[in-house]
Amino acid sequence: MAVQSDGWSWFLPLAAGVSLFKCLFINAYRSTDFEVHRNWLAITHSLPVSSWYHENTSEWTLDYPPLFAWFEFGLSKVAQHFDKNMLLVENLNYASPETVMFQRLSVIFTDLVFIFAVRECSRCVQVQKVSRDILDQPSFVLSVLLLWNFGLFVVDHIHFQYNGFLFGFLLLSVAKHLQSEHLQGALLFSILLNLKHIYLYVAPAYGVYLLRDYCFTRDVKDGSIGWRSFSLLRLLVLGGIVVSVFTLSVGPFLGQLPQVLSRLFPFKRGLCHAYWAPNIWALYNILDKVLVVLGVRLKLLQEAELPRASMTGGLVQEFQHSVLPSISPATTLFCTLLSILPAVVSIWRRPRGARGFLRCLLLCALGSFMFGWHVHEKAVLLVILPLSILAVESREDAGIFLLLSTTGHYSLFPLLHTPAGELLIKVCLMLMFTTFSFTALRRLHRGKGSLLRPLEVFYLLGLVAVAIACEVVFPLSPWKHRLPFLPLLVTSVYCSVGVCYSFLRLYLSLPADSVKM
């Protein structure tokens, strides 16, 4: 190819290509999230600020922080030129062609933030050796892994969400930290927290790292804290930035703060989504079910005494476990904090620069995914995307990335559940991404043995078998009507094993991380 390996001439065509590709799927399947965002456009456009968080004509009430509401308000100003009718709150499930076009294009357009962030991240990647071949360049591989990420593409441009825009802020913030621009990183993260509060998952990493690495200006020789070098000025500047962003965002809603908080943190929902996210609770649930079945068979339990509520019912509802103790939100919070404690303590005691912070961020995100309350399987992207940065630099991380990304991406398959229509798209895109990630990462880290252990390869091949069973065999089998949630169950449980294993591997890589400043 005539693209130069020393310049960045390949970046713009790559970004332009993926943007054009996204436009092809404007008419593909949309989930209810489409109506959610249309409703928010209507609410922010037609109603005064004081009723944004009180409005509940539609079941999809506003449950993102205020800055996102302002973002939707800005979008609605453009939307009125496409189709004024989408901005009427009463028009539930309104989906004219202009509405679809506008919403889809808005996602593609706001992805520019993500594209910019990817460029910044690729610039921070360390280059081991200079090569003419473009596939040998870590920055090229990283750009493709991020720009053409299967999970992000499928969730944003088919299922419909604005994750590209949000992840742009996250990756930009990480890139700024990698470039030692800590204040800018903090500013971007504060803005991000006020756009979507799910990023609270990684707030501990930010808080501890910034306190430790930025506020303590000097380290003692062995890397431990130099208590005397605490800089109050830096702490105040940092605090000032965070507080001012929060004030700007929450300020207009100060009077309705309890209502806003109740919308943002709806703990009435169950431990798991209707489709269990592949975390530890999925394994907990299946263990409970197995024990129930065993108990009934061995006559240890009376079937009549068991609670009727089913965990695999289609609705999101509270349920109780039958044999094992029930899990409450407090329990999950406790488990989450326990799981991320070692990582946080590790960067407090010995921060290994921005890459150590990135590793801690990943562990916080994955820990929260594993043990959190009502986790959505889309949250696995919070781990996969930043992990790509580490994957192009270190062999160990590349192995973890291959395992986690393949498992995590496969766990997103049930999101596109229309029969046959989107099956081809998700299978082809998944194969494309997997082929590229395996080939490119193998090539980048060649010469030092294989990236995956035999057991992991066996697990991934099993994933293929599960995929064929769930997508092809099951719909044609007689059990389709008796046990409609069986493929979801199998997918969820099988992927949980992979995700839990990756969590352990990522933790094990913590002390072994080589010193990189």
Partner: protein, 505 residues
């Protein structure tokens, strides 16, 4: 190992892009009473499944030939029969005689789109992959880049998976024929091409080069020895293939005659709708359709077509090399497109395929032509509601050709045989023709993009309701005429020595 992973990524991308385009509308969607090509294909499934073979091409109460009567050769009918058989298993309502007319549903659309994709994946895509890997020269990176551009050529994707047709099958068979001839398997190549001919009669555009190349090869091998043996083998293969395809119709001569009458309708006029060929463009200046009589139009177009196709065919006959064969495919199909009778705008795909074969050797001219060919079908796409896929795939193809194939680096004087032009036009020898050509390219792309936007954004003036389709077809015609002249010059010019060594086989 790595080439194969890149190739599989290419193929997967090609498949996903095709499926993405097929999410859009098709020809004649929700437009009773006649609908469009989609309904025609569905109707052929209905006819071939429910009626016996003898009645497929005849007009009777069960088979109204005025409502999308079968007008393709038997292989299309057999393909429709296979699709109908599967359709019947899934939902019999789709092919019920008479009652399924105008049947439209999301599930049915999914089924029809799947049949096109399956045909593409089984026939067209493997041929493209094998051609790019084994018959295109250059580094493996160059082969993969060529494969990308070949698979993502917008015109074929938009017509097959958007408008709805099965060109991938006939073009695929023709490509297998070219592939076989390139590898020296002449009998297999002729069999593949015969299958293509029996799928769509428009493949006759490519028939003359196949004939001249094989005949020339036989003559070169000596008509008294090996050449005769080869000739007999090829003739026998062709006859056997034709016999096999027409078997049900050979029992009764009237049957065969009726099929021929259906597939060559000489009752229609010189051209229909706006098409970027000589007659339609001439018609904007002089109304030849009304001036000349119907028979005279037929003879005139016949004569001019023969005249246009003669030079390249004779050249191929005398010098039967593979390079000449590829050039002759371009020249012959372009001559037929420009001067023949009852040409449809979709027939440009028959020219686009041989041009795609030259993406590796002449990237600049090929990519430019392919862009223009997609543009020439713009009015059709607008009628079918395919604006977004058209814009996206054309822009993507332009991006791919500039970045992957780096076409702008390949418009040097030597590569484009511009010295011949210099002699013909008596230009100053120091004039930088390459720079002029590059600027012509920029202006052309700008004009095509601008006219596309105008066609959508503006309403045509009331006294010129066809303004935009006419402008589109005239501009496209100028591009095609220029390509025709250029490739004829190429066929007769001496190759630079580097290429000459590779092309003579």
């Amino acid at each position: 190992m790595q080439t194969w992973s890149l190739v599989s990524i290419c193929v997967l991308l090609g498949v996903v892009v095709r499926w993405g385009v097929s999410l859009n509308s098709y020809s004649g969607a929700q437009k009773p009473p006649m609908f469009g090509d989609y309904e025609a294909q569905r109707h052929w499934q209905e006819v071939t499944y429910n009626l016996p073979v003898q009645e497929w091409y005849f007009n009777n109460t069960d088979n109204d030939l005025n409502y999308w009567g079968l007008d393709y050769p038997p292989l299309t009918a057999y393909h429709s029969w296979i699709c109908a058989y599967i359709a019947k298993i899934i939902n019999p309502e789709w092919v019920e005689l008479h009652r399924s007319r105008g049947y439209e549903s999301p599930a049915h659309k999914l089924f029809m789109r799947t049949t096109v994709l399956v045909a593409d994946v089984l026939i067209y895509i493997p041929a493209v992959v094998l051609y790019c890997l084994y018959l295109a020269d250059g580094s493996s990176k160059k082969k993969v880049s060529t494969l990308f551009c070949f698979l993502l050529y917008p015109g074929l994707i938009l017509i097959d998976h958007g408008h709805f047709q099965y060109n991938g099958v006939s073009l695929g068979f023709a490509l297998w024929g070219v592939l076989a001839l390139g590898l020296g398997w002449d009998a297999l190549g002729s069999m593949a091409f015969s299958l293509a001919l029996n799928y769509k009669q428009m493949e006759l555009y490519h028939a003359l080069p196949f004939f001249c190349y094989l005949l020339g090869k036989c003559v070169k091998d000596g008509l008294m020895g090996r050449g005769l043996f080869l000739l007999v083998r090829i003739a026998a293969t062709v006859l056997a293939t034709f016999a096999l395809c027409w078997l049900p119709f050979l029992s009764d001569p009237s049957q065969a005659l009726q099929v021929v009458r259906r597939i060559f309708p000489v009752g229609r006029g010189l051209f229909e709708d706006k098409v970027a060929n000589t007659w339609c463009s001439l018609n904007t200046l002089i109304k030849i359709r009304s001036i000349l009589s119907g028979d005279f139009q037929l003879y005139l177009s016949f004569a001019l077509t023969i005249l246009a196709v003669l030079p390249s065919s004779i050249r191929l006959l005398t010098k039967p090399t593979f390079w000449n064969f590829k050039l002759a495919l371009v020249n012959s199909s372009l001559a037929f497109f420009l001067f023949s009778y009852q040409v449809h705008e979709k027939s440009i795909l028959l020219v686009a395929l041989p041009i795609c074969l030259l993406l590796n050797d002449l990237p600049f001219t090929s990519a430019w032509f392919l862009q223009a060919s997609t543009f020439s079908m713009l009015p059709l796409f607008l009628k079918d509601g395919l604006l977004v896929p058209y814009a996206v795939t054309s822009a993507a193809f332009l991006l791919l050709s500039i970045c992957l194939l780096s076409v702008l680096d390949h418009c040097s004087e030597e590569e484009m045989e511009l010295c011949t032009y210099k002699k013909l036009l008596f230009c100053h020898p120091k004039m930088d023709l390459a720079c002029i050509v590059r600027w012509k390219f920029y202006i052309s792309i700008a004009a095509m993009a601008g006219l596309s936007i105008l066609s959508v954004a503006l309403e045509p003036p009331r006294h010129l309701p066809d303004l935009f389709p006419v402008l589109v077809s005239t501009i496209a015609f100028l591009h095609f005429l220029g390509t025709f002249i250029h490739f004829n010059i190429l066929q007769f010019s001496k190759l630079p020595s580097r290429k000459r060594q590779k092309k003579n086989n």
